[in-house]
Symmetry: C2
Subunit: 248 residues, 2 copies
């Protein structure tokens, strides 16, 4: 955008958002220098804007560095990204966790990735790479396979051309994946075996909207092995998916 | 601050934050006029800044109005308000829910209120007024009484002078509350009976830091009645509180 000086608000807003974007799951605390570099701002500019964000409660000073502040936590709680779906699904996921004690996820398709909206895991649940807000490849996760199986043909064809390998077990051969997706549509469930993370298997089911039968989301569990308790986990997932779908 | 025109960033930052603050639990979607009014900005100024926030992903247009956008959801996920405590406590709260099927809360003292950091509730749990981010009076909630019992004397004395009545059952007589808090310190648990919400009772325990024995938080359940299952709920709460405290 040309003419920065004539539209000061325009550039200030984008610079402020760049400062907020500098924080992520691996960067909870940043120094002034790090913030300026990650936001691509001159240090004096960053310094001035950071002072404003601190004054407004958007950032907190922390031992010579900065953290995202309370205002952004509170604003984030009200950011309605799939808010209705999350609010409806949350209690059903807790019940699915109570029935399985496994990590339970709710995910939706976000372009060509699975976006994790909720994650419930206990002290003894299998460790996973995903957390709320994560995006993972559709073809390598249980919830992702469910979502991909119910995606438009065009997306499946496009993705088939470049199935990235995450582990040695990831399915990267397009015809094998196509056959699996076909079976997933028939069976109403998807599984993965160490395709995203070594030592982790998953089982997932679709959430059908009661109104039109379309797939709104997927609910899945991640466990160390699918050899035990599969029927019990599937029952818990179906109970949750029905409960959510009926209310959508 | 005088001299707005000489420090455009200063006022723009505070105006942008005022726009974000305009959203809350009861205002998920706002029109331009509503946004301008709640942020106390002239409509043309609000319009220009909103356009910038939309361009940056901080707001989404929605059918003639605006909602908080994905960027703020993601930023909010990384806002570390008691982040370590929340991350450590989350799985233990899920287990406490699995053991009780009651609404389970984690709260800390925030000045003279209880701030709710986590809330786990199932489809059949007793309805409650609190949600994550809520602040409730210390003397009217189970987690609040635990936190108040372990607060500095000065705070207890100050609050005793003005105990607000929430329901007909709220304890507003200072000596009665003082005796309860004394017993809570002895027993290691607090109860409430319809003192915050009619039809809801609560049971809460402190989370002691293993390092120095100070109280870091409180974990509580909300149920319709405490006449049944009290020992089982207390055992679940103690298990969770010990698990969290050991890791702090």
């Amino acid at each position: 955008m040309a003419g920065n000086t004539s539209v000061p608000g325009a550039t200030v807003a984008s610079r402020l958002l760049a400062l907020l974007r500098a924080f992520d799951g691996n960067h909870h605390r940043l120094t002034l220098t790090e913030l300026a570099r990650r936001a691509e701002l001159p240090v004096p500019t960053a310094h001035r804007l950071i002072a404003e964000l601190v004054a407004g409660g958007a950032l907190d000073r922390d031992d010579g560095g900065y953290r995202l502040g309370r205002l952004l936590w509170e604003v984030g709680l009200h950011a309605q990204i799939h808010g209705r779906l999350r609010r409806i699904a949350e209690p059903y996921l807790y019940d699915a966790y109570a029935a399985t004690m496994a990590t339970v996820h709710l995910a939706v398709r976000d372009g060509d990735q699975a976006l994790y909206l909720l994650a419930v895991r206990g002290p003894a649940s299998t460790p996973v790479v995903s957390s709320v807000g994560s995006r993972l490849p559709l073809h390598a996760t249980g919830v992702g396979k469910v979502l991909l199986a119910h995606s438009p043909d065009a997306l499946r064809e496009r993705l088939a051309a470049g199935l990235i390998r995450v582990t040695a077990h990831t399915i990267t051969h397009a015809p094998v994946l196509a056959a699996q997706l076909e079976r997933i549509r028939c069976d109403g469930m998807a599984t993965t075996a160490e395709e995203m993370t070594l030592g982790a298997c998953s089982l997932a089911v679709p959430v059908f909207r009661a109104s039109d039968g379309s797939v709104a989301a997927a609910i899945g569990v991640v466990v160390g092995t699918l050899r035990h308790d599969r029927q019990r986990m599937l029952a818990a997932l179906h109970t949750a998916a029905c409960g959510v779908g009926r209310r959508l």
